[in-house]
């Protein structure tokens, strides 16, 4: 292939999100029929006939939701959803903003919870997450310059990235091609040089891969990754000792005890640490567990409302399986219930309805307080472990 990295980067990823209704190819098994099909983002999924029906229904809903967005555009003006948002009511009083801006913000929040149409995702995500703003503060050539500057450099991060490229969604029709690998590599390598504290952390490969599929261009995917790590998620989720991730896990355990006390105490009686399953959810932002369109719907809200959305979704998964979880006696059963639940969550609305209507209130303030409370304990624990390891080193 000619053109080299420079021009390839500008070629958007062609991804047909409007393919016709699924025509499942059945694989006959002894008792039930499992079908294999390709989803909206090109992933091969296995499910039963009900799953396929759900998926077709979801596609129809995505289409309807698209119409809702176009209609609003007709009444509110083109790109109304890209206007600056208000993050809290009190801000209105302070800045004396027009009431119509507030109305738009509320309408947009509601709309986003119901899903952003796939074709609008790139521009809406860039806008609501703050990625567009972040990009506007640096020269236009920032990404290209960065790519050029780091080309051919070898670091521990680039070595790890190279190791992981063929292991990131293997078998995907675009990601698992030389072109897909090269694209993903550039995004991850570029980011590893932008923030050397993060460098590269496993898990980001999955996140960046999905960002590429949605955003269509590498540069947009890069900025989404940047805003995610620098603004949307808590600090230090992927650095050093994953300390931010440890903090989030502790906050999550407290929330589970508060919001789903029966599950929490049952699992505790089995000595089952919920982080055994939830850590991956948080580090990969559900991309390895949920079907792709469901993951994208979670990310729609994540980019608009912030990291606390991850708690709501994780709690919702437990809540949806409450009855089944309460009768388990073995950790293997807990894990298989949660895994099959997440793998079969083809209906994003089912999940998000529980996440936003059945979990109860969860203010950003309360979460922030929880995090502050957990930080010292996490730091002490990690520090102790590190010192222990270092002392072992000296003895040798």
């Amino acid at each position: 292939m000619y053109g080299g990295a420079q021009t390839q980067r500008e070629v958007p990823i062609i991804w047909d999100t409007r393919d016709p209704y699924l025509k499942p190819k059945p694989i006959h098994r002894k008792t039930n029929i499992t079908v294999k099909f390709t989803d909206l983002y090109g992933f091969t999924v296995e499910g039963n006939v009900d799953d396929v029906n759900v998926l077709n229904e979801v596609r129809e809903r995505v289409r309807q939701q698209g119409k809702a967005w176009w209609e609003l555009e007709a009444s509110k003006g083109a790109n109304w959803y890209l206007q600056p948002k208000i993050s809290s009511i009190s801000e209105v009083a302070v800045s004396n903003l027009k009431i119509s801006v507030l109305a738009n913000t509320l309408a947009l929040n509601r709309l986003i919870r119901k899903g952003i149409p796939p074709v609008l995702r790139p521009k809406v995500w860039l806008s609501v997450s703050g990625a567009a703003k972040k990009r506007s503060t640096v020269p236009e050539s920032y990404y290209d310059d960065l790519i050029k500057a780091v080309e051919g450099k070898v670091t521990p991060a680039t070595r790890q990235i190279d190791h992981d490229l063929p292991r990131t969604f293997p078998g995907h029709p675009w990601l698992d091609t030389p072109e897909g690998h090269a694209s993903l590599r550039r995004v991850l390598v570029a980011y590893s040089f932008r923030d050397s504290d993060v460098g590269y952390c496993q898990g980001l490969n999955y996140v960046a891969a999905l960002l590429l599929l949605v955003m269509k261009t590498e540069e947009d995917a890069f900025w989404m990754l940047a805003v995610l790590l620098e603004n949307v998620l808590v600090n230090d989720c992927y650095t050093d000792n994953l300390s931010g991730c440890h903090v989030e896990q502790r906050v999550f355990k407290d929330l589970l005890a508060k919001k789903c006390p029966r599950i929490a105490s049952h699992l505790e009686s089995m000595d089952f640490d919920v982080s055994l399953v939830a850590t991956e959810w948080f580090l990969c932002l559900f991309s390895k567990s949920l079907p792709s369109e469901t993951t994208m719907r979670v990310w729609d809200v994540l980019f608009n409302e912030g990291a606390k959305v991850l708690f709501r979704v994780a709690l919702a998964i437990f809540k949806m399986k409450e009855e089944q979880l309460l009768v388990t006696h073995q950790i293997g059963d807990v894990i298989s219930i949660l895994q099959s639940a997440t793998h079969h969550l083809f209906d994003p609305d089912e999940l998000l309805t529980v996440a936003f209507d059945k979990i109860g209130s969860m203010t950003t303030n309360a979460i922030t307080k929880q995090r502050k409370k957990q930080e010292p304990a996490v730091m002490a624990e990690l520090d102790q472990r590190l010192r222990r390891l270092n002392s072992l080193k000296e003895e040798k």
Binding site: Q202, D240, N241, L276, E280, H329, Q330, G332, I335, Q339
Partner: protein, 200 residues
Amino acid sequence: MATTGINYIPAKLVLLGEMGTGKSSLVLRFVKGQFFDYQESTIGAAFFTQTLAVNETTAKFEIWDTAGQERYHSLAPMYYRGAAAAIVVYDISNTDSFTRAKKWVEELRQHGNPNMVIALAGNKADLVDNKQVEAEVAQTYAQDNGLLFLETSAKTAQGVNELFLEIARRLPKANPTQPSRMIVVDRSSERLVSTSYYCC
């Protein structure tokens, strides 16, 4: 889950060791009898179960195959907490991985369950031409530290079943008085009962 007269002994088992030493391959060989060159990378750990009948009892292994870069090792305590057994894996063609394995052993000794059965596995035993860690050295270290030691190859299956079988034998409830030495196995008394696996 029906326990039709069989005495299941659940046993949490964790695999630790440097990335690339073959932890996942060992598990895959043990649980599914397969070997692959490429697998989807695991974030945190993957969970598997496998039951193994030893004499009159059946050990039900709940296996945590830990994964990831060095920074992921900060998650390890969650996986080895309460574990009945651990397999610390190094790659016989890589000295550094042996050094790292020794650190894992010490961490487990200090912070794991005191009765934990710890096995040291020198994996990739098929790579004889690139051997950097001599079996005698590892064996001596294992003896000094009360570890079970075996050289294994997930690729050729050498030593893999023996490793898990020997661990099953040493599990406290299975046989509290078992001496710590290798035993020639009566094949008729061991069988893999059932298998399931979930990739986290």
